[in-house]
């Protein structure tokens, strides 16, 4: 079933990945052959206009979908041949998702939201351990004091941090973020990017989709997609440090408030 391949040096290895959707008579070629490697500890931004195939790429990286053809090795495991249940298990164990719209469960406390992936662990995690791990994850994003607040009682930035804690709770090998700052104001966006940078510094592999070039500059590598191809794959030379930028932004705000 899940046979680790010899190549353990990459977290993500795509070989000639093709995804074709068929809607009625029409075939849509969402991704037309992408070959890509992401090493452990990388921080990658995927950019591109809508329809460029970046969402499809993201869904495949997140094991929500399988390639039409080509191979996808995640942490050395060939995902292309897995069935629905096996994909669910991979998502549970190896992947953390952060969404644009947070996707927290309403009327459910922050800590219970964070516990969600642990409910589906096999073998099951004991209730007390679930609590402890969820609390640790909330501490990592600086929200341990809000553990029993419901999403409606939290700001957008706080909600996204709960979502990040949820993504981290099962100690994934790959953190995937789909437009994580899309619904946030500029200061909060930088705060969230700060969290990603911090996690990345501690060794977490992060891949995020964004269409904002400013946000992409907090990453270390940028992929640009167009029409189902990767047209550019470059390291970020002028990487921004979220902590520094946050300080600058705050000074700016103070200046505006003074005048």
């Amino acid at each position: 079933m899940l046979i680790p391949e010899s190549d353990m040096q990459t977290v993500v290895k795509l070989e000639n990945f093709v995804k074709t959707y068929r809607t009625g008579e029409v075939e849509v070629h969402a991704v037309r052959g992408v070959t890509l490697s992401i090493a452990p500890g990388e921080f990658v931004a995927i950019m591109g206009a809508s329809g460029s195939g970046k969402s499809t790429l993201m869904n495949t990286l997140g094991c929500l979908d399988r390639p039409t053809s080509g191979r996808y090795l995640l942490d050395g495991i060939d995902v292309s041949e897995l069935n629905r249940d096996e994909l669910a298990e991979i998502r549970n164990q190896k992947i953390g998702f952060v969404f644009q719209g947070f996707n927290l469960l309403a009327r459910t406390s922050a800590i219970e939201n964070v516990e969600l992936p642990l409910l589906y662990n096999r073998p099951p995690v004991r209730t007390r351990e679930q609590r402890e791990r969820a609390l640790q994850a909330l501490e990592m994003v600086g929200l341990a004091d809000r553990a029993h607040h419901q999403p409606s009682q939290l700001s957008g930035g706080q909600q996204q941090r709960v979502a990040i804690a949820r993504a981290l709770v099962n100690r994934p090998t790959l953190l995937l973020a789909d437009e994580p700052t899309g619904n946030l104001d500029s200061v909060t966006s930088v705060e969230i990017m700060g969290i990603f940078q911090e996690l990345n510094k501690r060794g977490m592999t992060v891949v995020m989709v964004t269409h904002e070039p400013d946000i992409a500059r907090y990453c270390r590598r940028t992929l640009v997609m167009r029409d189902g191809h990767v047209i550019s794959d470059q390291p970020v030379t002028d990487q921004l440090d979220a902590a520094v930028q946050l300080e600058l932004l705050k000074q700016e705000h103070r200046a505006i408030n003074l005048s």
Binding site: D85, A88, E89, N92, F97, F99, L105, L116, Y120
Partner: protein
Amino acid sequence: MFLATFRVAVRALRRNPLRTLLTMLGIIIGVGAVIAMVSIGNGAKAQVEAQIATLGQNVLLVLSGNVTRGGFGMGFGSAGTLTKEDYEALRREIPGIAGVSPEVRGVAQIAAGNQNINTQVLGVGTDYIAIRAWPLASGVNFTEQDIRSANKVALIGKTTAQTLFGDADPVGQIIRIKSAPFTVIGALSSKGMSMMGSDQDDVVLVPYTSAMRRLTGATTFRSLTVQAASAAVVPEVQNQIIDLLRLRHRIQPGRDDDFLVRSQQEITDMATSTSRTMRQLLAAVAGISLLVGGIGVMNIMLVSVTERTREIGVRMAVGARGRDIMLQFLTEAITLSLTGGVIGVLLGVYTPDVLNAFSETTTWPALTSPDSIVLAFGVSAAVGILFGLYPAWKASQLDPIEALRYE
């Protein structure tokens, strides 16, 4: 894991309390109806059995023939084919008979003091109260002498005595039946309701000879009540009565009897088969309401799946397998229908009491049997599973990408 699933289910149901309640109402009514109907049915059956027992032990009823007028049967007992000679022949010639009493019926006006009522007058023999296991509360029974002389003596039923004399002892009082004065020589103990729901205690018993001569003017009997010596000889006695009466009435072989002999067992069977049919009917009605309740559950579960598509997507994204989602929605449906079931059981158990509290005339003797409660629980759980299965399966088949994108 199961506890967590259960908690999620409860939370989801509490999110929309009114909707949950309305959905449960279908199950509540269904289960409540099942329990109430079965309880009332059982109670009625027990009551019928108790009433049949009041007929007496090893009793056979001989009804006189069926008059046909213009093609319509008037029912057994309508033609007077049983005579005094038949009665005496039965008494004399069939050894298995422990007691036999003729029966003539009439409704007459009865007066005592300034009280004046219409009530049933039964002309009977001396054996009658012994056969019916109907002891006297006070006073004495008729004698053979009273029968032979058609004496104006009467035994009075509890209700009639109450109406005419209040709590005073009726024995020794004079009552006027159709203006003829009768002396009350005995007061009957209470017998309760008959199978047909009439008050058996609203009656006056007089010697059949007196009744025929002074009250009804009838020359034949409506029926004979026979008591066999033991349960074992009942069929034999039944056949002997038939043979004897056919002979006496000179009925040719192949022709129909002009009388009817019914044993207590046959009467019991008839009554229980009626109540069984009734119960089956009620059970069918209750079953249909449970079905409707189940459809309500399915409807709400489908709505719930649609509403929570995004939640399903998130759960799948973080590792829920199809069967986890399925289990969750199934748990929700079962929780819904079982909660409804519990409330329904409580409702069903107490409904007859409430009915009895509000109705003055009729009583619903309810007997709640534990197995009907178990059955109702089982059925409501089954409804939850059956009608929750499709929505839960539908939820489990969602594509996580589509579900996450769902607005």
